[in-house]
Symmetry: none
Subunit: 189 residues, 4 copies
Amino acid sequence: MKSRGETPLRADAARNRERVLRIAREQLAAGDDSLQLNTIARLAGVGVGTVYRHFPGRQALLEAVSSASLEKLAERAESAATGAEPLAELHELLRFALTRALNELGFAEVLESPSAADARTTALKSRFDRALGKLLRRATQDGHVRADLRASDIRRLLGGTTHALRCGPHPPRLVKTYLSTLTTSLRPT
Amino acid sequence: MKSRGETPLRADAARNRERVLRIAREQLAAGDDSLQLNTIARLAGVGVGTVYRHFPGRQALLEAVSSASLEKLAERAESAATGAEPLAELHELLRFALTRALNELGFAEVLESPSAADARTTALKSRFDRALGKLLRRATQDGHVRADLRASDIRRLLGGTTHALRCGPHPPRLVKTYLSTLTTSLRPT
Amino acid sequence: MKSRGETPLRADAARNRERVLRIAREQLAAGDDSLQLNTIARLAGVGVGTVYRHFPGRQALLEAVSSASLEKLAERAESAATGAEPLAELHELLRFALTRALNELGFAEVLESPSAADARTTALKSRFDRALGKLLRRATQDGHVRADLRASDIRRLLGGTTHALRCGPHPPRLVKTYLSTLTTSLRPT
Amino acid sequence: MKSRGETPLRADAARNRERVLRIAREQLAAGDDSLQLNTIARLAGVGVGTVYRHFPGRQALLEAVSSASLEKLAERAESAATGAEPLAELHELLRFALTRALNELGFAEVLESPSAADARTTALKSRFDRALGKLLRRATQDGHVRADLRASDIRRLLGGTTHALRCGPHPPRLVKTYLSTLTTSLRPT
DNA sequence: CATGAATGAGAATTCATTCAT
DNA sequence: AATGAATGAATTCTCATTCAT
């Protein structure tokens, strides 16, 4: 039994894993965030057991589906953290995150959750939080952002805005408006 | 068939209705927002059918439970709409609504929803929206609030803030902070 | 809601209950003691939910199926307890119990179990134990039975004998032999 | 294909076999007699396939785990068969067997079963049966034991006693008592 | 020989809603 | 009006066994 961080999957296992992920993404794209493992297994043409082997539950699958976006977001945050204009960077980061959260059902859930099923998710969120925290501090020192908000608060407030948009019609104009309220909401009082 | 505006209930029917509502409130207070009609019927000591007669589904029951708070909120909004200082009135109204939404599971759901199962709920929300709309206009004219927000947006943003608070720990300090971001978020850009 | 010990069932409910019990008995008679509620529901032509309403689990169903025999056994024990010849009564009681346990799959399980799912089962076992205890004391005083055995031990030893017979072929002759060893086993040393 | 009586195992195969057996024993010692081959494989750090290669099923594994005890028991029986006092030897043999059966989950199952998955088990049981049969005959001739019991019956009755003890609490005193009933049960009527 | 991914039937249980009583 | 029995699809998860690598 070889021990290493990332176990390389056997070719067929990797193929199945991808199939499941693809179907899961399709389900989410179709507006169904229940992610029933049985249904997904059937649609993916694999046994239920296979799905359970790769993803021990809905949450794990959700995190796997969102991991690419989460990583992308973390990268964005890291690059933003060192940008010349903290406030502008922060706004752009929020815009990016909100867009993703709106277009990828389930992403907000992962982002706002205080816990995670998979250690990799926790790690990615930490990366994001660290970078965002740095960005926040810089923006705060510039007097642009209130000082009592932590990275986790931003994640939660993002989730809140996503929720507000999702619970009714959300034409582009409204998305823009709510995003604007979100950025405004961070100003010092 | 008698003609009536508000259906007068037979004494025993009214008693049953109240029992069901009381139990539903208890369940919500206990942190269970699933509002399973079977369970509620059992706890209330009535048949499921009786619950269904009074409330044709979870949503209807939820709205009935929240109606008192919703009415209270509408009244507050109406009184706020004519207050001397629109902005202060608005803030106080938001504080009140958020507090209720946090303490009464299900209230935010009713408040933010674009639809309703019961006509009375729709009516109450309209009352609220009309009053809040008036207040918003006044605050906007004072230059305190951005002009592109309608009453329904405020309800949705309130729901968003509630969601953000509920998805993690929310000690009083955080509630205060998030409320503050909510009020700030309405400022013109 | 009327309160009483034995709720009388609605006619159709009673019919369903009986159907389920009949099928359960058939399954047991066919040598299947798994008593899968799904299967039983299907065979009985009722919904699974109906089975669960009447019997909240395998154990409850098993006890319901065995209750008639258990009651009969308790009655026998009560009558035996006052018989003229304690030892003969005891032997006959054991013979009766063993016969039942062999012919009714599941009965031994209920009889030997230290716990019960249904209060009625507990009550019946208590009745049996009291009567058997009395009989044991009388037989002990006559010097026919060792003094360190309680009624629950007899139930367990009966279960043991049943087990020994069931785990291999058990033609009538062997049943008789093992029953004989059981009665012999109670003698003082 | 090499011809062989006892298959000599390759060193690593032997090591794997031992690992699996060790884990299986641990599981049983921990009170889990389900012996799920997947679980055992994982705990042993080998693939399921490896477990299946060595032991084609739960029963085979169980027998392998119990084989040492079974052999020990056969030896005891053989030595007992030639002892000076058949009855005393028999009692001691029963005491030994019962103790093992109680302390080693699964041993009673192997002992009482009329069939076996592995030929070695069958052989060991035959050895035991032959020796015990001899002992029984001697004890019978002495008038201490009833004549209608065969070795297989003793195995079954032992299993019964084990079952009776296992289905409830079994403090040492009770073990002693039930063992006493077992030995008593063999007396001629 | 060893591996462990895959299988997929199957088991247990729940719950929203209907409708006969 | 009230009752609560019945429904049964739906959901979650397990595990013995096979077989491709």
